[in-house]
């Protein structure tokens, strides 16, 4: 039951892309495609079930947010790359609704969200003639956006921390054994060196290697070799979860 519901909801989400060169496309905005039947289904789902993004939508939507927020991330984190900073824009979520008597869907709602704190909600004027439909569509439009946004933040994967912990442990044991081999009688030196090695590895791995790896993955996810296909984006985002 839940899988069928999620399939329906995931099928109504589309990311519009713009071609900026022969090979490169950039995500521009997110559309929800609805009609009266789908609107009714979503209203029921809203009350009874939870909506989970499928892996493809999750990767694409994370990529969309990452791509368009990169300038802000750079300003906060002081990462450098001029090529990252061109053409970013606020997030745009639109709802296209197909009225019964029309062939083409009409854009009826649009939310423009800027990290700088400016949010604009646009409503198509024809809807004012039908307050009941307006209320239904507004609720579904806002609910879909929030349901998406709550699923996008990265959650660090425990295996990543476990891997780092194992690496620390093994490296510390090897160095301590070496110290013990050369300075077998000096237990104090053994303990001090063990603690120092653990501390140094912790700093080097977390502050230098992990940070650089994170920057490298984000760079390749937005402008590099991980950007140009869904499969590569999914791999890049998985690795990102490991190092966060």
């Amino acid at each position: 039951m839940n899988a069928a519901i999620n399939r329906v909801l995931n099928s109504c989400i589309q990311i519009k892309e713009a071609k900026i060169s022969r090979n490169a496309k950039v995500p521009q905005q997110i559309y929800f495609y609805l009609d009266s039947a789908l609107l009714g289904q979503i209203e029921q789902i809203r009350q009874n079930s939870q909506f989970t993004l499928d892996p493809a939508n999750l990767a694409n939507l994370r990529y969309y947010l990452l791509f368009n927020s990169l300038e802000q991330i750079d300003s906060m984190h002081h990462w450098r790359s001029d090529s990252w900073l061109i053409g970013r824009s606020p997030l745009v979520f639109s709802t296209n609704y197909r009225f019964g008597d029309r062939q083409q869907p009409l854009t009826v709602f649009r939310s423009i969200i800027d990290l700088e704190g400016k949010i604009s909600q646009q409503i198509q004027q024809e809807l004012l003639q039908n307050p009941q439909l307006l209320a239904r569509l507004s609720q579904v439009h806002y609910w879909l956006i929030l349901a998406i946004l709550t699923q996008l933040p990265f959650k660090s994967i425990n295996q990543g921390s476990r891997l780092i912990f194992c690496y620390h442990g093994i490296a510390t044991i090897i160095i301590c054994l070496a110290v013990r081999y050369f300075f077998a009688t000096n237990y104090l030196l053994w303990i001090v060196s063990g603690l120092s090695v653990f501390w140094l590895l912790n700093i080097s791995l977390r502050k230098v290697i992990v940070k650089q790896l994170k920057v490298l993955i984000i760079y390749h996810l937005t402008d590099g070799f991980l950007a140009n296909s869904l499969r590569k984006r999914q791999i890049g985002l998985k690795i990102l979860c490991l190092v966060i």
Partner: protein, 224 residues
């Protein structure tokens, strides 16, 4: 000119707009730059733009000049010009005021279309590579689009209660705890006033949640 964005946000501002048609607006820096660069008092007086809006259009030109001058005196900017710093700093006090005196200052912005033999497009292209400048240009473009819409409404409107294509309600949630609501006078005389207010209330509540969702995404990426 790197700054921490979250530290500089003082308010979340949510606007609700009823529009005739929701269209995809494309930002083309050169087109926007050209449109704002050539705004002048004399041209505006000869144009069909309503007189009540002319000064607001002119302010866009002043803000563009001001933004450029601030980049010229910023040692961290790629556009920094040490030789002109003292002179520009003198002009900044005039440029930062809304009165007409700033119009007498010769422009330092490169012309969108090079006219002289020694002028090239490279100075304009260099400008478009500066992301701070592009940010300002984007914001000025949004204001210009809003002014263009307002101007169209003022000319086409047959009755005063028309709110289409203008922000009819805006709520500013400030960090110091203040909440400021602004409403267009035009909604007061409308029969659907309650519906419009209800719509804005809904968009304010969800707008704040949407912004929080975006911030949480970014924090999940950088905070650890």
């Amino acid at each position: 000119m790197n700054y921490n964005l979250l530290e500089n946000i003082t308010a979340v501002e949510i606007s609700t707009v009823i529009v005739k048609e929701i269209v995809d607006e494309m930002f083309i820096p050169w087109e926007v730059y050209q449109a704002i660069y050539y705004l002048s008092r004399s041209d505006l007086e000869q144009s069909t733009i309503g007189w009540s809006l002319r000064n607001r259009y002119l302010q866009l030109r002043r803000q563009l000049e001001l933004a450029y001058c601030l980049l010229l005196v910023d040692p961290n900017s790629q556009l920094y010009n040490r030789t002109q710093t003292a002179e520009i700093k003198r002009d900044l006090s005039i440029l930062s005021q809304k009165n007409a005196a700033w119009e007498t200052i010769p422009t330092r912005l490169p012309a969108p279309i090079p006219s002289g033999r020694d002028q090239t497009m490279s100075s304009v292209n260099r400008l478009f590579k500066d992301h701070q400048f592009i940010n300002v240009l984007q914001q000025l473009n949004q204001r210009k689009v809003a002014l263009d819409r307002r101007d169209r409404i003022l000319r086409d409107s047959v009755h005063q209660n028309n709110i289409t294509d203008t922000t009819y309600a805006q709520t500013s949630l400030q960090l110091n705890g203040k909440i400021i609501n602004r409403y267009s006078q035009a909604i007061l005389g409308r029969s659907d006033r309650d519906l419009l207010l209800q719509l804005h209330e809904q968009s304010t509540t969800t707008g704040e949640q949407q912004w929080r969702g975006l911030v949480q995404f970014l924090l999940s990426l950088i905070a650890k």
